[in-house]
Assembly symmetry: C3
Homo-oligomer: 313 residues x 3
């Protein structure tokens, strides 16, 4: 945990019931919530040379851009678990304030086969490669066991991407097991509106589940600047769902704006809030309605952001 960060930020793992918050950087030996059977990091990189080779998949450019795009706000390099049932990714930003966890189910792929393994990729480079194709173009990826490179094919174009040793990438964080008493479901576009307006007056935004002056249960966004203030009150009727509970925390707008930018406007977004606690932002996306499946989303995203300690405290 860097000294700058501790000045006014708590950290994503801080209110956790585990011992994760005492590790800086997060202990690579700590088991992650969803991959508890992963061996420790050193052993994982050995995977790459052994059984990790059995990986090949095919999906549209749009699907892979939507999946990996979720990690771009906080990561430059990321580790990707090549699970037999799909891709799993998780990462934390360098200041330990923002975390993203997202899986992509094998049903999102035209073809998917993996015997397991862990790879490290340069995320920006991967996004650049995908941008060569159009959203509907088909991409094939295959892991070359000998060279430890990923062969990426878009039509007749072949790109050989050198992988990164997963050991050299910041270790994956654990997801803290928190009791967050308030839960709100709202439209992505409302979150976008709140963030855009708050950025005009402040670097921080307060999220509250409370009653309005008129006595209505509501989700309240507010930001206080030196001279101007912004408030967005969403009463129950403007929300998809609302479970009242003790929720009142302050967050950095820099991070929240980055998160908001990759949330689809039409998504139903779950916010889980506590008092001076991290916020969990969850939504589903990647519906390939035109590929003959049932149109159910193929990816679940969890964004977590540590609270900013109120300056008054």
């Amino acid at each position: 945990m860097s000294p700058e960060a501790t000045a006014g930020e708590t950290h994503v793992a801080e209110d956790s019931d585990t011992d994760g918050d005492s590790n800086a950087p997060p202990d690579p030996e700590a088991d992650t919530e969803e991959s508890t059977d992963q061996p420790e990091s050193e052993a994982q990189s050995v995977d790459l040379a052994s059984d990790a080779g059995g990986f090949a998949c095919e999906a549209t450019v749009g699907t892979l851009e939507a999946y990996f795009g979720q990690f771009v706000p906080i990561l430059d390099e990321m580790t990707v678990h090549l699970e037999p049932t799909g891709l799993e990714g998780r990462g934390v930003d360098p200041a330990n304030v923002a975390m993203v966890d997202e899986g992509l189910d094998e049903s999102a792929f035209a073809h998917y086969s993996s015997t397991g393994g862990l790879i490290g990729v340069d995320l920006n480079r991967l996004m650049d490669i995908l941008s060569i194709g159009d959203a509907g173009d088909s991409v094939r990826m295959e892991l070359d066991q000998e060279t430890r490179k990923l062969e990426i094919s878009i039509d007749t174009l072949e790109y050989t991407l050198a992988l990164i040793d997963p050991d050299s990438i910041r270790a994956e964080p654990e997801i803290p097991d928190l009791e967050l008493p308030a839960k709100v479901t709202l439209e992505g576009s409302d979150l976008k509106r709140a963030v855009t307006a708050a950025e005009m007056v402040s670097d921080h935004i307060r999220l509250q589940v409370d009653q309005t002056e008129a006595g209505e249960d509501a989700l309240i966004f507010s930001a206080e600047g030196d001279t101007d203030d912004v408030t967005l009150e969403l009463p129950r009727e403007d929300l998809i769902d609302l479970e009242m509970g003790d929720g009142d925390s302050l967050f950095s707008l820099d991070y929240l704006a980055d998160f908001e930018a990759v949330i689809p406007e039409t998504a139903a977004v779950d916010l889980k809030l506590g008092s001076e606690m991290p916020v969990f932002i969850e939504f589903e996306h990647i519906e390939n309605v035109d590929d003959g499946d049932d149109g159910a989303p193929h990816a679940e995203v969890l964004q977590m952001l540590a609270p900013r300690i109120s300056s008054e405290d």
Copy 2:
């Protein structure tokens, strides 16, 4: 009047019949043409705390953006008169070369009520706030008498805008009472074309009402560069209206390009010209054709630009 400005520019009030041109900055006690019953500036700011409070209005984002957007080229902060019949604004740029005057009639609003008063606003901040909404969204504004702040609501979003003491804003200029013998009405798009082409060769543009080589009455734009020249001749048949008269003046393209940028391409624009005299540019805009009224414009704009003294003189 600043020493730099006097080097080659005359000023908007310079050929006026009043004593306005001897004031630098313009005398705040000088009565403005359209608001002759305004008390002097010091008294005006007292208004704010007293009866100025009785102000509330509701209009579309598009209407307010179109109205306030006219002042953006020359002002960062502006005073707004909250007249019982609508908004009135007027301002001059720091170099005293360009002036804008524009009223917005109460008929442009879904709701308008004011007991009078004067407020000062940060213009860029106000435009930012409006940009949160879409053009058709409804905006409510209400003056809080106690806090001297403007409550701006767009849907469920509330923005509290701190107002600026009108005394601290550059005083409003008076509109000089000039005899401008030539009058031309042309399409906004033709003015845009002339300005764009002239900018390629020079910092200045000459506007003349004269006869072409072929002997036709015409409005003639011309710009002379070091090596290249540009001329745009609009004979009577290419104009909406033309009243011949002595008109031949040189203007700064920086200012005219700023003015041109906020003139609708389809507007019928009146130019009033003299010889080495300011130009008056007048047009109407803000037709809310879809709100059930008669589609008549709700705002009249007057842009005035002082001439640049010809370098040959």
Copy 3:
């Protein structure tokens, strides 16, 4: 030939049968391939004042933008031959690596008349002037013999463009007479794809006519970076035409990307290749299908790029 350029570049004229490669800058007295009856440069500039005056033409903005736009990647100023049968232009970049040659037939014009002559123009200025009009607008150009200026009219707008003394412009190169054994015809969009992908990993791209691992005749683009590689194989079935021959050369992506940017995506592009030889890129464009002619292209473009010597050599 500049010392920097000789380090790793051969030059456009280098494998030529002529003595052109020993001239740095290219000898202005050397006759050009297509204009062998041109007098030497000094005499040409005299043309301007004498018979060059007899030039007037009319075409659409879009036609002239498409013609002159081909030279923008490598030239700031260019000489234009006002041939009785149309315009002829040719130029080489300052490093003598890239060359463009393009004629525009008189059939591309609504009106064309010329008694011959040579003019020099500021290419960027000319493109700016054309940008005032819309693609379909008509442009008239007329040479003023006395002032040595070009009168350019778009509708009622008149622009007087000062010409540049052709003697002060880098002399036109000659087109080397090369034996290039391999010839490929492909779609412009495929070339674009190869260049875009190669730029991600390297500054250079290799063009080969060879057999794929599967034994198919193909055009192969490849680029090798420090860690990543890109390959685009276009077998015969993905090409418009393919004449096998000894072709394997490395080129600077900077130049090829500039060339590619002005090649229409739908054009059928001829590539002529040798081994460590320049590439000739040829295509036709400017089809004015709506002006009543037969829709045949009015302009032929030749782009030539010198090879980059392989660093292994």
